[in-house]
Symmetry: C2
Subunit: 217 residues, 2 copies
DNA sequence: TTCATAATGAAACACTGTTTCTAAATCGTA
DNA sequence: TACGATTTAGAAACAGTGTTTCATTATGAA
């Protein structure tokens, strides 16, 4: 089989030949399909994302989606990764603060806002909205990348002696689990009133900060 | 229409007449169907609980399930309530302790054990395993009943001045959300290693107790 | 140009929750 | 008990899902 991994050039402009041009085209198509799926999801919720509906929006047969993504789980995984990017962007938009407790507060607020502004993404990522999708190495890594800001400030706070606990990932997971718990009970309808949920959330953030940023333990 | 709400008696033995005998029979059938659904669920997971499969196990047409439960959501709701009973039983099996912090620890352990022993129930109740099912008043009340032990000790601890926070439900929800967060991230595959999840869980319980049972705030 | 390979796209498959619809059973009344 | 009305049973069909077949078409390599 022909291998054209070395890209030729015409007048200094790089030119992609087969099969790269094809793969590039395929990747472009994939992006369009993901975008279509995302728009359906954000408008009608994750349960509205069906292969047929996405295919209809793309005006293509369902087979093409299966050729490109393998299965619905493959498409779900891409939506998951898309959500990780959005969460990462949301965290990056939070201005850094010298005081780690204040910075953590703002990041906590950003996580809450993300769950409100991108509820469908949140449910896909952490709510099990697509039962087909099960996290694996790549997606777990993507979450880790998204949570980078939190990991960083906790790591620094440990290094600087603000937090007595020694394992940063343990602390981050404790924080994450607590925040997720409140959000998920709210989104799941178990804590229906939003103001109540937000009050709980803010109290949790306060408690977490008090718990970890203490000198007396 | 005939009304036989007054139950006649023959030789002192109570006899149920139509339509009670029929309703009774229907209720018995419902219980059998719920039991069949539960056994499928515990053996193959919530996603394996389909109306057809339950009907097959009961050797009856699907229509009968629809006649008795209205929809799959109706059956899901019954499984939810069944789960609440099991959780309630699990909590009641925890021996009371004079020290509320020790008692809370044991109840926390029982909640963890419940999520391990009845994972399918847990996912139906709090994990959104049946997307059809959305909590409403009756089911929210059932959860409240199941969490009664925790509500009681928090209420008492507040009355006795061990906890400075004044709203028992707020404290209970904070505890519940935190514990649920860890369990759900674990069951969702985001914290895969069980020992890690349990370590997080135990740390959370410790932190919660430290947070609420403090004299200095 | 020719041929082997790969992609397309409609249709079918196996499943889901749910609803018809006819036949049978059941109940209140005469 | 016998009849007529109402309800119920149960098979089949409907509309939807994820996925796979398979004949056709297009495509790249020789």
């Amino acid at each position: 089989m022909h291998n054209s991994s070395e890209v030729p050039s015409i007048n200094g402009r790089k030119v992609t030949t087969y099969p790269n041009v094809k793969l590039q085209h395929a990747e472009m198509l994939k992006l369009n399909i993901i975008e279509a799926a995302a728009s359906i999801m954000q408008e009608h919720g994750p349960e509205a994302v069906t292969i047929r509906r996405v295919a209809e929006k793309m005006e293509c047969p369902t087979k093409i989606i299966y050729n490109l993504f393998g299965s619905k789980e493959g498409l779900a995984k891409r939506l998951f990764l898309e959500g990780c990017k959005l969460l990462s962007t949301a965290f990056q938009a939070v201005p850094e603060q010298a005081d780690p407790t204040l910075y953590l507060r703002d990041l906590g607020q950003a996580y809450w806002d993300f769950s409100r502004n991108y509820t469908s993404y949140y449910m896909v990522m952490f709510g099990g909205a697509f039962s087909e999708f099960k996290p694996e190495e790549e997606t777990l890594l993507a979450i880790n990348t998204a949570l980078q800001q939190i990991i960083t400030i906790i790591t620094q706070a440990i290094e600087q002696g603000f937090i007595s606990e020694k394992d940063p990932l343990l602390v981050v997971n404790l924080i994450w689990a607590t925040l997720h718990g409140t959000i998920h009970l709210h989104l799941g309808g178990h804590i229906q009133h939003e103001a109540t949920a937000k009050l709980l959330y803010d109290k949790s953030v306060t408690n977490l900060i008090h718990t970890f940023f203490r000198s007396d333990n």
